[in-house]
C-alpha cells in the first residue's frame, strides 16, 4: 500500500524525532522519491532554521528576585477570612438562640448570666469578622446543623 503525501508528512514528524516505528522505511522511501514532499521538507527545514535563529530571550539575572518579591507581596496582603470562621460564628449564634428559646419557654429557669455570656461571644465573633451577612450565615454554613434543627432539638429537650 502506498502512502499519501499527507500521511508521509505526518509520519515524517516521528522520523525527525528519531522514533523507531513500523513503517518508517516506507515514510523515508516516500519522501526520497516524492518531489512534492522533498520540496515541503526543504521548506519546513528552512522555516525551522528561521525559528532557531530567532533566539528567545533568557531570563534576566534579577528575574528570580522579582518572583520572590512578588511572592512576598502576596504573603503581605491581608488574608481574606475563610468560610471556616463563619461556621464557628453560626454555631455560636445558634447555641445562643437555642439557649434563649429554652430560657423563654421555661419562663426564665435558665441562668440569665449564661444567656448573656453566649450573646457576648456571638457579638464578639461577629464584630471580629465585620460580617454584614452574619444573620444569613446562621443556617447556611456547610457541615453545620441548620438553626431550625437546633431549635427543634431545644423544643424536644423542653417537652
Amino acid at each position: 500500500m502506498t502512502l499519501s503525501c499527507e500521511e508521509a508528512r505526518r509520519e515524517w514528524l516521528r522520523v525527525e524525532r528519531g522514533e523507531e516505528f513500523a513503517g518508517r522505511e516506507r515514510v523515508e522511501q516516500h519522501v526520497r522519491t516524492c518531489a512534492a514532499c522533498r520540496e515541503a521538507r526543504a521548506l519546513d527545514a528552512e522555516i525551522d532554521g528561521l525559528l532557531a535563529a530567532d533566539a528567545a530571550p533568557s531570563a534576566a539575572p534579577e528575574f528570580s528576585a522579582r518572583v520572590r518579591a512578588a511572592l512576598a507581596g502576596e504573603r503581605g496582603q491581608p488574608v481574606r477570612p475563610s468560610a471556616r470562621p463563619w461556621r464557628l460564628v453560626a454555631a455560636a449564634a445558634a447555641a445562643v438562640l437555642a439557649t434563649a428559646t429554652i430560657y423563654f419557654a421555661r419562663g426564665g429557669t435558665v441562668d440569665d448570666e449564661d444567656v448573656v455570656a453566649h450573646l457576648d461571644v456571638a457579638e464578639e465573633l461577629a464584630l471580629e469578622h465585620e460580617d454584614e451577612t452574619f444573620a444569613l450565615e446562621l443556617g447556611g454554613a456547610d457541615g453545620d446543623l441548620p438553626l431550625s434543627t437546633l431549635l427543634r432539638a431545644a423544643r424536644a429537650e423542653e417537652f
Binding site: 499519501s4 526543504a42 525559528l51 528570580s64 512578588a70
Partner: protein, 235 residues
C-alpha cells in the same frame, strides 16, 4: 538534543539551516528533579522553589516568547507561571513529569494572554474605526499579509517578521504544538500529554501548521524562478 536521529537526506535542493543549533536546552533527567523539588517545597523547604526557578526560568521564558512571538510581556508571563507553581504547591501531585505539568501551565497562560490581548486590540481597533472613517473595515486592516506580492529580495529580517505573523495566525492548538515541537527533547507523546490530546492529533496539528506556514512563507523562502509545490500534492 536528545534521541533525535540525523535527518536522512531527502535530496532537496534547498540548503538547510543548522537545525542542531536550536536553542532549547537539555531538560531530560530520569529522576525528574522538578517533581522532587515540588515535594520538598510542599514540605516547607522554600529553597526548593529557588532551585525550580533557577532550573526552569530560561525555558519558561523561551516557550512564552516562542508562543507569543513578542519580547515584551514575556517576563510578566514567566513570573505568573512561577507564582502559580508556588501557589499550587500544596495541591501538587507528581502524577506526570514535572516539566509536563510546568509546560502545560506555560502554554495555557500563553493561550489566555494571547486571547485577551487580541480581544483588547480588536476592541481598541473597533473603537478607532467607529470614531473614524466609516469606509475602513477591520478586516482590511488585518488582511493576511501573505496575500501581498513579495518584493525580491526580501531581507531575512523581513522573512522572520512574516514568520512571526504567520505563527500568530495559527489556531492556538497548532501554535501550541509548533511551539513545543521546537523543543527537540520533547517527544510527540510528551507534547500530546502537555496539550491533553493524542499523539495522532499532535501529528495532525503539526502537519497542518507546517502546511499553513509553507503556504504563507513559501513565496519568501523560495529562490527566484523555482515553482512552489502544492502542499497536498502526491508523488
Amino acid at each position: 538534543m536528545s534521541g533525535a536521529k540525523p535527518e536522512p537526506d531527502g535530496g532537496g535542493s534547498v540548503e538547510r539551516a543548522p537545525l542542531r543549533s536550536m536553542e532549547p536546552r537539555k531538560l531530560d533527567d530520569p529522576d525528574d528533579p522538578g517533581a522532587v523539588w515540588m515535594l520538598e517545597l510542599q514540605r516547607g523547604d522554600e529553597s526548593a522553589f529557588e532551585r525550580i526557578l533557577q532550573t526552569y526560568q530560561h525555558v519558561v521564558h523561551g516557550i512564552a516568547y516562542r508562543y507569543t512571538g513578542r519580547r515584551e510581556g514575556v517576563e510578566d508571563l514567566a513570573q505568573e507561571v512561577f507564582l502559580r507553581i508556588y501557589r499550587a504547591r500544596t495541591r501538587y501531585r507528581p502524577e506526570a513529569k514535572f516539566r509536563t505539568w510546568l509546560f502545560r501551565i506555560v502554554i495555557n497562560l500563553c493561550i489566555n494572554e494571547t486571547k485577551s490581548r487580541r480581544l483588547r486590540r480588536a476592541a481598541s481597533l473597533d473603537a478607532d474605526l467607529s470614531a473614524g472613517d466609516g469606509e475602513l473595515r477591520l478586516r482590511d486592516l488585518v488582511a493576511d499579509a501573505s496575500t501581498e506580492a513579495p518584493s525580491a529580495p526580501v531581507e531575512r529580517a523581513e522573512v522572520a517578521r512574516r514568520l512571526r505573523e504567520a505563527l500568530a495566525e495559527l489556531a492556538p492548538n497548532q501554535r501550541s504544538a509548533m511551539t513545543l515541537y521546537q523543543y527537540r527533547e520533547l517527544s510527540l507523546a510528551e507534547i500530546a500529554e502537555i496539550l491533553g490530546t493524542t499523539d495522532k492529533a499532535v501529528k495532525s496539528l503539526l502537519a497542518r501548521a507546517r502546511e499553513s506556514l509553507r503556504d504563507k512563507l513559501g513565496p519568501y523562502l523560495r529562490r527566484a524562478g523555482e515553482p512552489i509545490p502544492s502542499p497536498g500534492g502526491r508523488a
